[in-house]
Each structure stands twice: as structure tokens, then as C-alpha cells.
């Protein structure tokens, strides 16, 4: 009984890590653009498809396919960023919702049109189980945990100390002042967007061996998981996002075990609505920001 619970919590933390890596990009993009990125899950899907393509068609190794998946996503994110995201600086919130919804439709359905809508098998990854502290965990899940920690430590350092991190924080506080002191706002927006998309792709490539299935609609599912996370985490809040993601991952895993697998996908939005009734500005923000 206890060991099942502990195992489920660890599974939940792994799932939470996957969500966290995707959601943190989304929340950073919100920070600089004030726009919810409805297309963010699609970059997760693109990364996975890139890796799947590399393995199945180019016959590369899993390691190389990670690089291919992320690079492909970066190229697409660069185009989308230049053409769409940069225009959204200073646009009203509704414009952001609609434009990114449009991008999500385009990306998702183009992939379905090109590769077909069916499930594809993702071969690759490290699926050997290992034992740590009495728990058996697939290597790939370990890898996800480690990468998630590294990503968040790296982001924390970058946001605090690096020039780009500082300019990102500046843009998220006041765009006009940034322009006055000579921060290239569109450039910061583009870089943040590409970074976020690349992280989503990384998450996708790392999760593919665990999920095994690759299909065109997978991005939408991830978007629907990460939207509640970034709002619960307090929009634009990197640390809050991390904890909200872990919380949701664990909650999903427990609900799937003890209530029923079919309710797993609603946990996020139910939690979100309950949270918002209690704290309308998210769990980790002290004041209403947006």
C-alpha cells in the first residue's frame, strides 16, 4: 500500500517534470509578451515528430534524434517568432489568444496532413529499468528528472545573472522603459520564444520513449495540461510554475491510480477552477498581476 503510494508519487514527479519543462517556456513567453501561448504544446509535438522522423527515416540514433528534433523546432519557432510573435508586443490579450490558437491549428494540422493522423511507434531511448533506493525506475524517467532539475537550475541562473535574463525581466516589467534604455524588445521576445519552444521540444523528445506513441494531436493535450499549470503557478513566475507542475503531476498520478485513469486529463482544469475560486491570482503570486 505504502510502496504503491510512494511509487505513484515518484511517477507523478516524473510527469510533473515533463510538464514543468514545457510550462516554464510558456510562462516566460507570457512574461515578455503578456500572451498565453496556445500553440506551446505544438512545439512539444514538433520536437517529438522531428526525433521520430530522424530515427525512422534518417536512421539516426536516439541521441542524434534529440538534436534533430530540437533543431527542427528551433527553425520553425524562429519563423513563427519573426512572423507572428514579434508583432504581438503591446497587443491586447485577446489578440494573443487568437493568434496563437491560429498557429496551433496550422502546426498541428500540417503535421497531420504530412504524416497522417494515426499513431506512430517511437523506437529509441533508454528503457532499461534501474533500481534507486529500493524503487525501480526506467532509465529514461531518471533522465527526465535530471534534465528537469538541470533546466530549472540553469534557467534560475540565467534569469538572475545573464544579460538576456535581465533583459527578459526588464521587458516583463515595463516595455516602454526598456525601449528608453535601449533594450531591443522584439529581439528579447524572439529569443525568449525560441528558448521556450526549444524547451518544449526537449521535453517532447525526452518523453517520447516513455509514451511510445507519437501522433499529431499530442501537442494539444500537452497545451491543455500546461495552461492550468502556468496560471496556478502565477503567470510569468518560473519557480511557481515548477511547483505547480509537480503538484499537478502528482495529483494526476494519484487520481489515475485511486479514482480512475479516465479522469486523469481533467485533473488540471478542475484543480485550476478550484484554485482560482480560492486564489484568483494563482498559488504562488502574492498579488494579482494579470
Amino acid at each position: 500500500m505504502f510502496s504503491t503510494l510512494a511509487e505513484q508519487i515518484i511517477n507523478g514527479i516524473v510527469t510533473g517534470s515533463v510538464y514543468a519543462i514545457v510550462a516554464v517556456g510558456m510562462t516566460m513567453i507570457f512574461g515578455v509578451l503578456r500572451a498565453i501561448n496556445f500553440a506551446h504544446g505544438e512545439y512539444y509535438m514538433l520536437g517529438t515528430f522531428g526525433a521520430w522522423f530522424a530515427i525512422d527515416y534518417l536512421e539516426l540514433s536516439y541521441e542524434a534524434s534529440i538534436v534533430v528534433g530540437i533543431l527542427a523546432t528551433i527553425v520553425i519557432a524562429y519563423v513563427v517568432g519573426r512572423l507572428v510573435m514579434q508583432r504581438m508586443v503591446g497587443a491586447p490579450a485577446e489578440a494573443g489568444v487568437l493568434a496563437t490558437l491560429g498557429i496551433a491549428l496550422i502546426l498541428q494540422n500540417t503535421v497531420i496532413l504530412v504524416f497522417g493522423g494515426g499513431y506512430k511507434f517511437f523506437s529509441g531511448g533508454y528503457i532499461e529499468p534501474v533500481s534507486v533506493l529500493g524503487f525501480t525506475l526506467a532509465q529514461q524517467r531518471m533522465l527526465i528528472l535530471v534534465v528537469c532539475l538541470l533546466v530549472f537550475i540553469g534557467l534560475e541562473l540565467m534569469v538572475t545573472y545573464s544579460r538576456m535574463g535581465k533583459s527578459m525581466r526588464a521587458v516583463s516589467q515595463n516595455i516602454e522603459c526598456c525601449e528608453v534604455v535601449g533594450i531591443d524588445v522584439p529581439q528579447v521576445v524572439l529569443r525568449t520564444f525560441i528558448l521556450g519552444a526549444a524547451l518544449a521540444a526537449l521535453s517532447g523528445v525526452l518523453t517520447a520513449p516513455v509514451n511510445v506513441n507519437v501522433y499529431g494531436g499530442m501537442g494539444e493535450l500537452i497545451t491543455f495540461k500546461t495552461l492550468p499549470i502556468i496560471i496556478m503557478g502565477g503567470l510569468g513566475n518560473v519557480r511557481g510554475t515548477f511547483f505547480a507542475a509537480m503538484l499537478l503531476g502528482i495529483a494526476e498520478s494519484l487520481v489515475a491510480t485511486y479514482i480512475g485513469l479516465q479522469f486523469r486529463d481533467t485533473v488540471g482544469f478542475v484543480t485550476l477552477i478550484l484554485t482560482l475560486m480560492w486564489r484568483p491570482y494563482g498559488l504562488f503570486s502574492t498579488e494579482a498581476r494579470f
Partner: protein, 337 residues
Amino acid sequence: MSLTQTSRETPLAEPSLEVRRRDLRLPLGILVAIVALSAPFLIGSYALHAIIIALIFLLPAHGLNLLVGYTGLLSLAQAAFFGIGAYTAGLLAVHYGTPFYVNLVAAGLMAGLIALPLGIPALRLRATSFVMCTLGFVIIGQAIAKNWISVTRGDMGLSSIPKPFFALGPASFTVSGTTGFYYLTLAVAVLATLAVWAIVRSPAGRNMIAIRENETLAESVGVPTWRYKLIVFMLSAVFAGVGGSIYAHYLTVVSPLTFQMYYSTTMLIIVLGGGAGTISGVVFGSLLFVGLSEALRVAPELRMIAYGFCLLILVFWFKKGFAPLLNRFWSFVGGVK
């Protein structure tokens, strides 16, 4: 044919020196009415099917327009209420064999009633969180439809929903075939359009616009904004529920897939593409975006990609959709330069 908000408010242009052309609005309106009434004899049955689908989607779109276009609340929940309406009508028809108009009213009422407890927490939120919350309703609705198997039959959905029939005392009458259904949908759509027109023209409509333009200011001049937002949210659900009931009777099948982002997105495209805050724009939008793509038998993926580009174009270049174009056409027909 209804005039749009803006064209009604702006007085006619100053009298110009040119000789004014004749006002052709009435003849054009009559012509449109004649074409609409005789459509089944003019076009094939597949095109008629496309128009029926467009008219069905017009209902939730009208509701969404009240919310987005007139009150300024961007909602993605329309698909949830559409689905609730479809299930209500389907369950009533399958289990109790109630006549069509009972199902239609019940579906609208049910959607409106469910919107009340959903709207109270949701409407307390600001822009972004409100959008998320309404999206949550769709996702949760789908989960309920999938898992409440004793009522909804889960993924199998409800099938063989009877064709709409009317019973008045001993006489009963069943609408079957595309032509009959076309007239039925047309009648409901026209009534709904008139209802929206009446709402928007009324003082309540003015208050809604005031909330859209500046909520704080509206509140300060005595508009009970909270009550208005809640009522409009419920009203938009009623429209969506009614649309859902017709949809269920037309397709004779309801499945959990009715609760889908796809429907919310489609309704959003109709409203924003046609022109949020205008009635004729939404009518035009549903015929164009739903009717035309249905008629051209575009593959669903291609249609979604086209919708995506439409959204981008609307956001960045045509912020008002087709409404300005329609207005200009209408003034042209009216003989105003």
C-alpha cells in the same frame, strides 16, 4: 435583414451635391428572403446540407457574439453549452419521445441553467484566467460525457435520435428530409437573429456595449455590470444549447466529441471573422466559414489550417472582420455614397 449596430448609429452622410441613387435596401431584402425561401429548389441537396450546418452554427455564434462582441468577454465555453444542449435534446428524444420544440426549449434552458453556477466563479476572473476557465468547461464537459456512462453511454454516444416531430393535440408532423429540415433550421435561425437584434437594440444592449468599452466607467454610471455579465453569459449558453439541440436532431447522433475545442474555435472564427459586435457580420461569417467549407468538402485538416491562417489574418490585418465591408456594401445598396 437586420441593420448592423454601427450603421444604425451613424446618421446618413451629409447631403451631397450628387443626385442620390435609389434606396435599394428593401428590394434587396425581399430578394434575399425569396432566395432563402426557395433555396431548396435552387441548389442541390449537398449544398442545402452545408447551409443547414451553417445555420445551426449561427445560433451558438450569435450567443458568442453577445458575449465577445457586445460585452467584451472572450469565452471558449460555447462548445460545452453546445454539447449540453445536444445531449439534453438527444436524451429527451430517445428516452421520452418528446416533440422537437420541447427538446429545443429544454436544451436551451438546461444550458442556461448550467451556465449560472459556472459563470459565477468564472466571471470573477480577469481576461486570461477567464479564457482558461471557459476552456476548462469544455474539457470537463467532455470527460463527463465520456464517463457518465449510465446516462450518456460514454464514447458510444447517443444514436438514432428521432427526426424532429411536432405534436399539437392529436395531429403530429415529422420533419424528415433535407428540405424540411432546412425550413425548420431557417425558422429557428431567423427567430434567433431577431432575438439578438431585439436584445442589442434594447437599453440592455447599450449597457452591454458600455461594459465592453469600459467596465469601470459603466459601473460608475450605474450599470450593474456583474449582473449583466452573468445574464449575458447565461444567454449565450441558451443560444448554444438551442443550436446543440438542432444539431443532435439533424445528425441523429451525439458523442462526447461534441465537447471539443474544434467547435469553440469554429464559433470564434465565425464571430471574429464576420465581425464581432455586428449581427449581419455573424450571419455572413457562419455562411462563409462553415457553409462554404462544408460545401467545398474541404478535408478537415486543410480546413483547420485555413482557419488558423484566417485567425492570424483577422488578428493582424482585419481586426473588425468582414463587418466594415458589409457596412459599405449596405450603404452602397442604400444609395449612400
